[in-house]
Symmetry: C2
Subunit: 133 residues, 2 copies
């Protein structure tokens, strides 16, 4: 079963450069907005297709956060995230999580693969906004 050959098109390269060049965690349409400055005729569908492809290849990360809109991350080193409950903005957290203990899973017959922690909080900007009231 040969893998499908992938081509490094202009669109794919610029999408990749854009995501890698950001310290934020953009949604698909934020990426679309930025990429469109360099490739005005690119379509949102292409952005979605490439973000998913790059994620499958492990070159970028698709964040498994709660909420309707997916976000992407050019930083694939192991780290976690905190999300602002007011505005949805995400910040990076670097720490090591304990291994899942066998006691956690004593009552399930699921086979454990991995686990993820998501912190929720309020970002500095939204903290400021709240003080004004």
């Amino acid at each position: 079963m040969a893998e499908k050959q992938h081509r490094m098109t202009r669109q794919r390269r610029i999408i990749l450069e854009t995501v890698k060049g950001l310290k934020t965690h953009p949604t698909a349409d934020e990426v679309f907005g930025l990429v469109r400055k360099r490739l005005p005729r690119i379509s949102l569908g292409t952005v979605y297709r490439n973000l998913d492809l790059l994620t499958e290849q492990g070159i970028i990360r698709k964040l498994d956060t709660a909420g309707q809109q997916k976000r992407f991350d050019g930083d694939i080193s192991p780290h976690y995230h905190i999300k602002c409950v007011k505005c949805g903005k995400i910040d990076d957290l670097y720490f090591e999580l304990p291994k899942p203990s066998s006691e956690w899973t004593a009552n399930t017959s699921f086979q454990i693969l991995e686990y993820n922690v998501e912190l929720l909080g309020i970002c500095p900007q939204c903290q400021k906004k709240m003080k004004q009231h």
Copy 2:
């Protein structure tokens, strides 16, 4: 600022009974399907409105799991969830997680509110299916 008065309508009561009566973690439209057996004219919009209202009141829980479709849980006691990566089914896990250590959040200026843990794994049925190949 007086709270809005809420009425216990037939629809709301039956939606609540349905969610509380399940050991599974139904999506809005699974609830809709079940409730419709007792109230054939109920609309999906009503189900959504009531699930959200009951969640705000803390009577049921809206699961903050990754993925496109939200799931609800009639069990509001503190516990975590594991989700099958193949079929999306959810199982309950009861254990105590260590409190977030200050070291986790040393590098962020977000104000921490809470955190959520989601385990990923493979459910028994999907394990069986995989062995057949």
